[in-house]
Symmetry: C2
Subunit: 162 residues, 2 copies
């Protein structure tokens, strides 16, 4: 598979609902309640098309999605975007796909007039790899609110300035 | 008017849409685009009742609203609330009404299982009185993301732990 080409696309297809579910579950990183939230965003895009506030990049190998990002402009801001999701299938981790898809995502956000991207994650020890990942792909931890998600589970804001 | 009693209520009435518009405009503090956003939340509550994610406290004097708060639980959190709006009519400023309505609001949030309240505002000089107000009513500035709203206009997070 390492020889196979990564193909990026922005169009969302009905099959992506199941593919997203599979990617998310493969990581073992998300809470159960987060899965339907992620799928709703895909479905919103499928229903509303260009009118959706949710934008996607999918990275396919041999026509099968192995990674995706979901992002969108932050209402009330000029040029700030939320990175809602960035997920790579567990089978494809460690190959630099996350970095490639985030770079593609940043190019698209820039093209949409974006200048700042915010990624929120948890302060829990469990998410240390996620925080490390954001740092590696050029994000900086700029803010934290302790106990935000629950007692002992804070919200960390990583920011990438484009 | 100082002798007249402040009466709190949680029920939202159709007349509150206009009252909220008037209170917001009286302050001269908000952007034009923010007014319909505020009114939408009132309308959402009127339409959905208890099923709305938006909760309100109104403070009336002689049956007329002079101050209000709008708040709600933060999805994906356990016990964290957003304070979306806290507005006192300009004619009634400087009488401690803001402090009274926020205390009533905190009591209600506690009763709903809330333990943390987040109020977001701008870092612009124009909002120094707002930031000062939050500090005075017991909030602490816990985080900031520079340039969030636009270049030079950061987002400041004030937090109250109940």
């Amino acid at each position: 598979m390492q020889d196979n080409k990564l193909v990026f696309r922005r169009e969302v297809m009905p099959e992506d609902v199941e593919a997203v579910r599979e990617m998310i579950l493969s990581t073992g990183f998300f809470y159960d309640f987060e899965v339907p939230v992620a799928l709703e965003l895909v479905e919103d895009r499928l229903e509303s098309g260009q009118n959706s506030d949710y934008h996607f990049v999918f990275a396919d190998i041999d026509g099968k999605p192995v990674s995706y990002t979901c992002f969108g402009p932050i209402a009330g801001s000029e040029g700030s975007f939320d990175l809602y999701w960035i997920v790579t299938h567990n089978n494809c981790r460690g190959r630099g796909i996350g970095r490639l898809i985030i770079e593609e995502t940043h190019r698209i956000i820039s093209g949409m007039g974006g200048r700042l991207v915010v990624a929120e994650t948890s302060s829990l020890e469990k998410y240390a790899p996620t925080r490390h990942f954001y740092t590696r792909i050029g994000y900086t931890k700029e803010a934290q609110i302790d106990d935000f998600y629950k007692e002992g589970d804070g919200k960390v804001f990583f920011v990438k300035r484009l």
